[in-house]
């Protein structure tokens, strides 16, 4: 019988936390950060600086005392600006008093939504490859993740049929992220309509993370929240990190029917209290000025996307044309090497960092994520180096 002081610290850690694997990205980060002169296509945040007027206004706000708590829901002025923006951009209207909650990034908003809605064992349908947090967040909220694997031969689209195959009577939530990190996939409107119909018929709530919506390169982004009968069963998540290049401000928001917002607010008020006040001020500035900032950056991402897709064609890596975000997800499966080994060897031999697809789910094996949030010069140099590397792999 071990005494108390011999009990290992590890045994104190909650079982469900122990069971969550370390993020594959952290793993890789540790290796990359020891190296010099690496061209990184591994960075999941904009290379643009936050627009100057936003930064300048934040300093002004700090000087004028924006250093106290705000209401739990967030500054009403910001919620009103968000209501206008979401209505105009996503065609979904929300009451700024009751249906919009300001959060610390979409990350917190997602966590709040899951914790507010899940009873232990409730199932959440989500698609992989996907952002690294989804599965872990579901588990942390004591839910059960149900994975739907999207595939390259289908351009990583999600369809109703794929969801139907996985759903069970215990399924409660559907978690969507389009444009998608890491594949860059977007959804066609007809697919989205069928997915919406599926959610209505199965009485599922939908959590939709549309953080990359403004960075849609082909056609127009449609939010599931704007489809008939969906606003009342959707939690719409958005924020300022990507389109406004404001990652470090940590500011996002959730829009949802009043009852759901209230439930999320309860968790938020006891865990976070409120989002940083100066960041909320910054977001008001970002939203209430003309959107040229966003357009200039989105145009540049699209040009880089075009460059990169052609580059992959040239060096013989099959790659679906990413419709949005700033990621390409080329296939390396035919080279007879695992994603992880590909990324490690590429880093070692050519000093280019990409992220193994497996960091985004098991079905990411055979792919690597290349973020084009880096300069055109860097992209061209990286393609040159990857070209050399792939050629060597093919000849070996």
């Amino acid at each position: 019988m071990p005494t108390n002081d011999s009990r290992s610290l590890h045994s104190f850690i909650a079982r469900h936390v122990v069971d969550i694997p370390r993020s594959g990205i952290r793993d890789f980060f540790d290796i990359v950060s020891t190296m010099k002169d690496v061209i990184s296509l591994g960075i999941g945040e904009p290379d643009f600086d936050t627009p100057w007027h936003v930064r300048e206004f934040t300093v002004f706000a700090l000087e004028h005392g924006a250093t106290h708590y705000t209401s739990n829901m967030g500054l009403l002025e910001l919620r009103r600006a968000i209501a206008l923006y979401v209505e105009k951009t996503f065609r979904a209207s929300y009451d700024p008093e009751k249906e919009i909650l300001i959060t610390v990034g979409v990350s917190e908003a997602l966590d709040l939504a899951l914790r507010a809605l899940l009873n232990p064992g409730d199932e959440v349908l989500y698609h992989e490859p996907c952002y690294v947090s989804y599965r872990a967040d579901v588990v942390l909220a004591h839910g059960r993740p149900l994975t739907v694997e999207t595939r390259r031969d289908n351009d990583f689209r999600l369809t109703r049929a794929m969801l139907e195959r996985q759903a069970t009577p215990r399924t409660k939530l559907l978690l969507l992220n389009f444009p998608n990190n890491p594949t860059g996939a977007t959804l066609r409107k007809e697919d989205l309509e069928e997915i919406a119909a599926f959610a209505r018929e199965r009485d599922l709530l939908v959590i939709t993370d549309e953080i990359y919506a403004e960075l849609t390169h082909d056609g127009e982004h449609t939010s599931i929240a704007s489809l008939p009968g969906m606003k009342e069963r959707t939690i719409f998540l958005h924020g300022f990190s990507k389109a406004w290049a404001m990652t470090g401000f940590r500011l996002g928001y959730a829009c949802a029917p009043p009852e759901l917002t209230e439930a999320m607010m309860k968790v938020h008020q006891y865990t976070m209290l409120c989002a940083p006040t100066m960041s909320q001020k910054a977001a008001i500035e970002a939203l209430t000025k003309p959107e040229t900032d966003v357009k200039v950056m989105a145009d540049e991402y699209r040009r880089r996307r075009n460059l990169l897709v052609r580059g992959f064609e040239d060096i013989g890596l099959p790659c679906s044309r990413p419709g949005g975000a700033f990621y390409a997800f080329p296939s390396i499966g035919h080279l007879g090497i695992s994603s992880r080994d590909f990324a490690l060897k590429l880093l070692e031999e050519e000093k280019v960092a990409v992220v193994p697809g497996t960091a985004f789910g098991a079905c990411g094996e055979g792919f690597v994520r290349c973020a084009y949030a880096t300069s055109m010069d860097n992209l061209q140099e990286a393609m040159k180096r990857m070209g050399r590397f792939v050629k060597r792999l093919k000849n070996s």
Partner: protein, 159 residues
């Protein structure tokens, strides 16, 4: 504005091959359009943007506000284009407000610019008065900051 021009304005050295990839066009199409813009005079020149302060050139730049009498038939154009032809005049703009033309004039020193103003500029027919200011330091020129920007501070790999 045509995206092709946006790209060139940002980096005039961008190769047609690269531009073609960015815009999903053929290289020939890009070359053809650039040639057309050059022919039409939309693209007037390609220049490097220098940080002159770093070069120790023995050069001063004056910003000169000029009041002129507009002429019947011709307005400001004739006198403005006369002024523009002096090689020491770098830029000429017609302005609204308290004066009419704004000039950027380069010279080797204060005296040289002063001579230009008193002998060439002020004596031109139609010029009523001038007001000369000397530039001390350039912080930003043609949209380009003159100080080196900070290095990329992002984490090397992030989700």
């Amino acid at each position: 504005m045509d995206e092709l021009l946006t790209i060139l304005k940002n980096n005039a050295l961008e190769k047609p091959e690269t531009i073609a990839r960015m815009l999903n066009l053929s290289v020939d199409e890009v070359k053809k359009r650039i040639a057309e813009y050059e022919q039409q005079g939309v693209i007037r020149a390609y220049q490097a943007i220098l940080n002159v302060d770093q070069l120790d050139l023995n050069q001063v730049t004056a910003v000169i506000e000029v009041k002129v009498t507009p002429e019947r038939e011709g307005g400001f154009n004739r006198v403005a284009s006369r002024i523009s032809r002096f090689p020491e005049v770098q830029s000429v703009y017609l302005m609204s407000g308290a004066y009419d033309l704004l000039l950027f004039v380069a010279g080797r020193n204060l005296k040289e610019v002063a001579l230009f103003v008193s002998e060439k500029l002020a004596t031109l027919d139609g010029v009523i008065s001038t007001s000369t200011h000397f530039m001390l330091k350039t912080y930003k020129h043609h949209g380009v900051l003159m100080e080196t920007e900070s290095a990329d501070e992002r984490l090397q790999v992030s989700p």
